[in-house]
């Protein structure tokens, strides 16, 4: 399946864009997304190890299965406030 991942802050800066498209096997997990993101975009590999990911507007852990057509986002360590 094709998924699109929103990028923010240093992730957006490193990738030079605010969204990436990846191909993942159906039923892939966030852990697999984390790995695939680093493979496809080596400049994001280190960050992808330390970022959180969101499915829709909720944080998801590495075991979470990615639903079809999910809104995915890479969430680097936050610094609001």
């Amino acid at each position: 399946m094709k998924v699109r991942v929103k990028l923010f802050a240093v992730a957006r800066q490193l990738a030079g864009r605010d969204e990436l498209e990846l191909s993942l096997p159906a039923g892939a997990t966030i852990g697999e997304l984390r790995h695939a993101l680093g493979e496809q975009s080596p400049e994001l590999a280190s960050l992808a190890q330390h970022a959180m990911f969101a499915v829709g507007t909720e944080y998801a852990d590495d075991r979470t299965t990615i639903p079809e057509n999910a809104d995915l986002a890479c969430i680097p360590p936050v610094s609001g406030g």
């Binding site: 929103k6 923010f8 802050a9 240093v10 957006r12 800066q13 280190s46 960050l47 330390h50 969101a54 507007t57 909720e58 944080y59 986002a73 969430i75 680097p76 360590p77 936050v78 610094s79 609001g80 406030g81």
Partner: protein, 148 residues
């Protein structure tokens, strides 16, 4: 009440929003753009957020604070975009019957906001460099070019 705003935070409006005859105490926290961090001079800040998720997380913070403490009202306003020195990036206001509740809830709200809400700060240093702030993250270059 939670809000993301592109413009100056109106602290009087934030205070009005939590004022109530049921409250004996109001605590307002403002995060402001500081000039020096570890001896290095900041010229300005930029804040970016994931809007839909940031709004949802802010609303969850308010709901959780209401579960934890008997607060009367709560307002959280976070600014995004470009901020000059001294301007407020965030306002958290809590009203409660008693002051200890207001202090505890206010402090928990800003502490937790800084941990979970998808908002990011970029320091624009006075020397011209810029850097996204990502606590705990080792970044390839301590100083990256401004990406805007």
């Amino acid at each position: 009440m939670v809000e993301l705003t592109q413009t100056t935070i109106d602290t009087a409006e934030v205070l009005r929003c939590v004022s109530s005859p049921a409250a004996g105490a109001v605590v307002l926290f403002l995060g402001t753009a500081r000039e020096f961090t570890a001896g290095r001079r900041t010229a300005s800040l930029d804040y970016e957020c994931y809007p839909a998720m940031a709004e949802k997380k802010l609303a969850e913070l308010e709901a959780e604070a209401r579960r934890r403490w008997p607060i009367v009202a709560c307002a959280i306003v976070h600014r995004v975009g470009h901020l000059d020195l001294g301007e407020a990036s965030v306002a958290v206001a809590v009203s409660a019957p008693h002051r200890h509740t207001a202090f505890e809830a206010g402090r928990w709200l800003i502490d937790t906001l800084k941990e979970v809400v998808p908002i990011w700060k970029k320091e624009n240093w006075a020397d011209g460099a810029s850097k996204w702030v990502h606590p705990g993250l080792t970044q390839p270059n301590d100083e990256c070019a401004n990406d805007e």
